[in-house]
Symmetry: C2
Subunit: 288 residues, 2 copies
Amino acid sequence: MSAPTVLISSLGLMGGSLAAALTRVGWPVLLHHRRPEVALRGEELGYGKAVSDLAQSLAHADLVVVCTPVSAIAPTIRAMAALHARPVFTDVGSVKGAICADLDDLARSGRFVGSHPMAGSHLQGIDHAQANLYHDCMTILTPLAETPAAPVTLVEKMWRAVGSRLCRFSPADHDRAVAEASHLPHVLAAAAASQLGATAAPLAATGFRDTTRVAGGSIDMWSDILLHNRQAVGSGLVAMREHLAQLARALAAGDETAVRAWLEAGREGRQRFEHHAVMDVPILGEEA
Amino acid sequence: MSAPTVLISSLGLMGGSLAAALTRVGWPVLLHHRRPEVALRGEELGYGKAVSDLAQSLAHADLVVVCTPVSAIAPTIRAMAALHARPVFTDVGSVKGAICADLDDLARSGRFVGSHPMAGSHLQGIDHAQANLYHDCMTILTPLAETPAAPVTLVEKMWRAVGSRLCRFSPADHDRAVAEASHLPHVLAAAAASQLGATAAPLAATGFRDTTRVAGGSIDMWSDILLHNRQAVGSGLVAMREHLAQLARALAAGDETAVRAWLEAGREGRQRFEHHAVMDVPILGEEA
């Protein structure tokens, strides 16, 4: 039984690393990029074969992984799916609700299965591709209840081949969970950073350093993520504003019991994180 | 010219470390604690001489450093200052406005100069004292405009003897600056941690880990700090709630320009922090 052929479209860090990882384990990889020279660079690096005729290549691909920025994923898959009926499509987008809604018909028919590998780097571009980027990372799949089993199994097989661990969420649950685990913490880190004035800056130490580290991240990437997950992030912001108002009221009243309870809620959240250390995540069985 | 005699009251990590540091550079140190056995333990560790008669010891001290929790600092200094007219008093409290207001008459007459050494450890108690705890840390002094020069110079001399760098702020400016550099980031880290649900916990990764690290800190210490700096923290919370509302409005409107500008404000705050790396802080001249 030969390995499936994977066409990777858009060869930045994520796509390039996936190509490098799949090539290393012997899977046939086809490389596609808006600018053909990037696909040729991938071929030069030994990450697969550059695509010259997209429609013809789609006819040979079992699986297409679209690695564009979030806003381009659904239109790219829609356009490619119309070119040929054969391949299954997946993606690496960090929000899922809007994409799965846009591609609802393709998800129901089994032509699309959403993926979100929780991996990344501050480095960008195919020249920084890392064949081990997905090793031990958690990848969340978001098939619909109606999605047939075979395409889901194919997508799982690919992620497992590059060393990823797997779990499944509904698109809406995924977006709420990543809002809590990643998007809201990013927003609060940026808020904490923004309020540091020039007078106070020399006094900021290790606490500030760690709390605001992610605020130095890519504006392009994060505006894209926040806008695409605006519903879950928006709900979270409403809850956060009320949570901060609670602390303000407790401080104004000098209510030590309430201030302690408020801080305790943060400590409990931190404990939920520490409890679910990397070793404890739910992993789909290897036999699946 | 012999070194000044320093009486250190309350021998936890901060007081114990100061005693260890001063003893190491040859300053005479008197050790005082609510429970006499703690002062005896300090003497046993070689950090100075345990005080048996407090009034008599105050008559021999040039400088008293009160290292109690924030809420006990002003009453302790008030009570000791009434016992003997000789020593100058300082403290290690991380908020200054309320303490300096409570001790306003003593600050004006030169008997009290507020200090805030920005050092600490998650370890507590005299048995974890570190003689290098204050080495290279930033200590903020908060003399009033009316405070005579001699007691300020004495307090500066002590902090410089243990290796600390020095700067001066008014008590109100200090409290606003530490709110921005430390207290509000702590609050936002705790808020980010609190909203992580059990479902999302397995998805939290390095971003969440760093953003929420400080939320695991001492509830005792942080409720004390936030309550004593309630005015500056309260103002900061009002501003933060409005700042988060701005993002919520930008997301609801799908306004990419506004979302980018909002994220950019966080990035600029982070850059103000990185620019003021430890090497760049304003340091009072060694000749002072």
